[in-house]
Symmetry: C2
């Protein structure tokens, strides 16, 4: 039986993708992870497939000395853990308290043999979307300056989680830095520059709530 996701500003059309993937009759369970908890680890068997209901997830790889590269942030509606192999290729952690729905890969495979091929097609679509994101992120990581990286990050997050004119970032400066291949100090400095230039402003007591004041200028900075 399906568990309904409540009314949520971040509840996008994509929320239905896990349904399309697994079929309407697949058993889906909800689970809530506390802030910082690991959802699955790199090289662990990929048993489940997840969809974010509320909260936010980071998936990343580590080098032996602790350097971290965050590959993607998963926000409400996003499906993740689609490894199409035996093992997860990332570690996934809840950034804040996060509720996910999940289903087993076995259910996926069974649904596939039942209905023919739409399931494989859905998996292909998801993998292709991940690949596209990875491709543009390689351009960012390899060839953009710190300011361009932060601008690109803001544009992406603006698209994905701005509601009522305000973007509430669930992730820390360190998370952003590890996503952009920078240090947290450089991210902080770039944000200060953008604020100084009137591109954005912080609202509220914390620095995690951002209002974009000049999107054309921001887009121009992304090159």
């Amino acid at each position: 039986m399906l568990v309904r996701i409540g009314e949520n500003a971040n509840h996008r059309p994509r929320s239905r993708e896990l349904d399309a993937l697994a079929g309407q009759n697949v058993f889906c369970t909800e689970f809530t992870y506390r802030r910082g908890r690991e959802i699955f680890g790199e090289a662990e068997p990929a048993e489940y497939l997840y969809q974010v209901c509320t909260g936010a997830v980071r998936s990343f790889k580590l080098l032996s000395d602790g350097r971290r590269q965050i590959n993607a942030f998963h926000l409400p509606g996003d499906v993740f853990g689609v490894e199409n192999g035996e093992m997860h290729r990332f570690t996934a952690e809840a950034i804040v308290e996060t509720t996910v729905r999940f289903t087993t890969r076995r259910h996926l495979l069974e649904a596939q043999t039942d209905s023919g091929m739409p399931v494989t097609n859905s998996v292909l679509k998801l993998v292709t979307r991940n690949l596209q994101h990875a491709e543009s992120h390689m351009l960012l990581l390899g060839r953009k300056t710190s300011l361009e990286k932060v601008a690109a990050f803001l544009i992406e997050m603006d698209r994905r989680l701005t509601a009522a004119g305000v973007m509430i970032l669930p992730m820390s400066r360190r998370d952003i830095a590890d996503y952009l291949g920078l240090t947290l100090e450089t991210v902080s400095r770039a944000l200060s520059v953008l604020k100084g230039e009137g591109v954005l402003d912080f609202v509220g007591p914390t620095q995690r709530q951002i209002v974009l004041l000049d999107r054309p200028k921001l887009a121009a900075l992304d090159s």
Copy 2:
């Protein structure tokens, strides 16, 4: 009719993938591109699917000011141009004189409806492999030092094109740099360091032929 690829040191099992993809009866044509020629451009309609017979191909994205990020090198046996969408997301160019086989996407789709689903599965495998490569490349681009990047590059190329103990690089220092998110000078310096440390040596008149003398040390440098 299929065109046979000649005996070639770089002729890997993967060479059969386009067959598996498109079926043994699909019409495949060969074509040879001269050094530096564009095979397809970013945002062009993705009409064909390619496999390298001989030579080497670079696929890359550009920023408006000319900064280039090479996403992948395609070597003999590799299939490329699998965009799974209307448009190519990269530009592909022949690095040296390169012969490719190609088939139209339409043939692929027809093969799919004929035989059921193995075609989609093959596409999924290819896209998944691309994604895996992109994922580890993001870690490299975002978090590795120049020496680690060059070491990782050598390890990858050693695996993919070392024959008879010698690795003959088809690409220039600039290509390597644009692949690793560095400048060509930094690549050159890193190679000089590795030579100085006895990890590798150049053979022949040019600096494109490399012998690896200490693979364990090289692997250690990749972290």
